[in-house]
């Protein structure tokens, strides 16, 4: 089952929810659609399922035009964000639904359906829930039932919309591992939607980052983590500290920054923006430093420092393991040593007023 999506657009009135999506998914792949809420993930999933229709674009599966095909005939397993289990049916009847609504000539015999349902209940480790109603299940149990109902029709493609969205943190982690195993055993092509990067990275073979109706980056989890393709992806993946720098011979530099740990980059000389994760920055006490510690809070394992940047009057927040932290109090002056980061050309990044100030400070501190 190979899916090809090209130039797909969808608008609701004035709002363009999908602005030209190009994506292909290979047979057996497990792909995550990752993006903030409102970026169009659900809309894309619904279009693939045949529950919504694009204004323009191509959707082909195994070379067949799926935009000509009714949802009923696509044989997709869809797990809804709130599971959408039929409230008046028992777990058993919910799972059997897709088999019992088949046209008479392709419908399995009642005994065969019952057998298949029992098999799925075993596979999903919920045989004890067979005769309960959805209202009598916990969130995690509902998710299993919803997955079972979707898998009963032996779909070649599974679509999961925020499969862990309605669950609490501990259940999420347990179910994530379990789901990965289940999907591997089932061997179906799977696309799942999430706004949680940890979830996407842990589960998926390939991650598709979406922002405001566009695909910002497609890649393997490590690739995206280490090399976000756009400032949007960098910010979304937690690179929340942005510092203006100047590039010279592939090296970034700025006053008050010790950039020795950053690798050389193949980018033109000139102003650039350095994106950093709060945990990838070491604060170094320095009476001449550019940053002042505004306040220090502890999260237990981490110390969170809110800094005041004398140069740009920005207030970046950095985090450091508490046992590695130098003794720092509010009011202390420091400079920063970024350990890893990502540079983007500062086309629109740096406010113009900052560049001369950098130059002035550089001259005075040298």
């Amino acid at each position: 089952m190979t899916i090809t999506i090209a130039h797909l657009t969808r608008r609701f009135g004035e709002t363009e929810v999908l602005r030209g999506i190009d994506l292909s998914v290979e047979k057996g792949e497990l792909v995550a659609l990752l993006g903030p809420s409102g970026s169009g993930k659900t809309t894309l999933l619904k279009i693939i399922a045949g529950l919504d229709w694009p204004d323009a674009g191509v959707l082909e599966v195994n070379g067949e035009d799926w935009l000509q095909k009714k949802a009923q005939d696509r044989r997709i397993g869809f797990v809804f964000q709130n599971y959408a289990l039929f409230p008046h049916m028992t777990v058993r009847d919910n799972i059997a639904f897709g088999l019992t609504v088949r046209p008479r000539d392709t419908r399995p015999a009642p005994a065969a359906i019952a057998g298949k349902v029992t098999e799925l209940l075993q596979f999903l480790q919920i045989p004890q829930l067979a005769d309960r109603f959805p209202a009598e299940l916990s969130g995690g149990q509902r998710q299993r039932v919803a997955l079972g109902r979707a898998m009963a029709i032996a779909p070649e493609l599974l679509l999961l919309d925020e499969p862990f969205g309605a669950l609490d943190a501990q259940v999420r982690r347990d179910l994530r591992r379990w789901l990965r195993e289940v999907l591997q055993q089932a061997g179906s092509t799977t696309i799942f939607v999430t706004h949680d990067q940890e979830e996407a990275f842990e589960l998926a073979d390939r991650v598709v980052v979406m922002g405001a109706g566009r695909i910002e980056q497609v890649g393997r989890p490590e690739e995206i983590h280490d090399h976000p393709a756009t400032p949007f992806v960098a910010r979304f993946l937690g690179m929340t500290v942005e510092l203006p720098v100047t590039l010279h011979a592939g090296r970034a530099g700025a006053p008050g920054l010790d950039t020795a740990s950053l690798p050389r980059v193949a980018m033109a000389d000139g102003p650039a923006m350095l994106f950093l994760r709060p945990t990838d920055i070491t604060p170094v006490p320095d009476p001449q430093g550019r940053f002042t510690v505004a306040d220090v809070t502890s999260t237990g394992a981490l110390l969170r420092l809110r800094l005041k940047d004398d140069l740009t009057s920005a207030e970046p927040e950095i985090e450091i393991a508490r046992r590695l932290a130098p003794p720092l109090r509010a009011g202390a002056r420091i400079h920063l040593r970024p350990e890893a980061g990502r540079l983007f050309p500062a086309t629109a990044g740096i406010p113009p007023a900052v560049a001369p100030a950098i130059k002035a400070l550089k001259e005075s501190s040298l």
Binding site: L51, F86, H88, F97, G98, V101, A135
Partner: protein, 284 residues
């Protein structure tokens, strides 16, 4: 002093004030307006004594009136069940010009004095009325027949079905239907297996109320029925006639019978509803 303050502090407070007053007023109202008259009716009925009661109720004219009332109410309710459901469906699921007007029209049978409705209907179905002029040449007689009675009953009770089903249908999450579609179900199957079970409890309430109201409908019916004893005389009219003849026992026996039928219906409907809603969680 301190203990009093502490006690006052830990005494659980109701969030909304005035529970005692509102509850008192409500219960007095129910007592004076609803329960006392019913009790009086039952007492009056009990005075008659079983034999006399049985004699009144099995008199041919009473039996004919009851039979007509029940059959016409059943016909009206069957019609309302189908048409009311359809109307609720159309009002919730489609957008079309004039939808709000149609929606408002559904309240007219409730708002209109039933006598006005009765007059209008009999004018329409009279031999020279708009409908009558069409139907009578085809040999279909509505006015002065059970059809007219049923039609008047259906007219006055249709909002019960529409207005009970409509809000439930509006609140029904479209995700259930989406889920059914992805599982391969076609529209009629989805309605039968997913949508209808969800609105069934409300639908049953609407249908029961519609039937109960039809049993008691008076104003709209007497104009169109012709009120021929043994033919088109409804039970509540017969009760009025008995009253005018100073036959209080006869009136009370008929009224009591209608009351019992209505009560049995409401209880049965509630039991069925509870059964239909058992999936909402057993005990938990």
């Amino acid at each position: 002093m301190t203990t009093v303050a502490a006690a006052a502090r830990i005494r659980p407070k109701r969030v909304l004030p005035g529970f005692g007053l509102t509850m008192g007023v409500t219960l007095s109202y129910v007592g004076i307006i609803v329960l006392l008259p019913l009790a009086a009716l039952v007492l009056k009925g009990a005075e008659i004594g079983p034999e006399r009661f049985f004699a009144i109720m099995t008199a041919p004219r009473t039996l004919a009136a009851l039979k007509l009332t029940l059959s016409a109410a059943a016909m009206a309710t069957a019609f309302n069940a189908v048409y009311g459901l359809l109307m609720a469906w159309v009002l919730v699921r489609y957008d079309f010009p004039g939808k709000r007007i149609l929606d408002a029209l559904m309240d007219i049978p409730f708002a209109l004095p039933t006598a006005v409705a009765g007059l209008a209907l009999s004018a329409l179905f009279a031999g020279n009325g708009w409908y009558g002029a069409l139907l009578e040449p085809m040999g279909i007689q509505v006015i002065f027949t059970i059809w007219g009675v049923a039609f008047a009953m259906a007219f006055t009770s249709i909002p019960f079905v529409v207005r009970t089903v409509q809000p439930v249908l509006e609140d029904l999450d479209p995700q259930y239907e989406d889920a059914a579609v992805t599982l391969g179900a076609h529209p009629f199957t989805i309605f039968r297996r997913v949508v209808f079970p969800a609105i069934l409890p409300a639908f049953m309430v609407g249908v029961t109320l519609s039937f109960a109201r039809s049993l008691g409908e008076f104003g709209a019916v007497v104009f169109i029925a012709g009120n021929l004893p043994m033919k088109t005389e409804i039970a509540s009219l017969l009760a009025v006639i008995r009253l005018e003849e100073y036959d209080y026992n006869g009136a009370a026996a008929i009224a009591l019978t209608l009351l019992m039928i209505a009560l049995v219906l409401l209880v049965a409907s509630n039991l069925l509803q509870a059964r239909a809603l058992r999936y909402k969680g057993r005990g938990a």
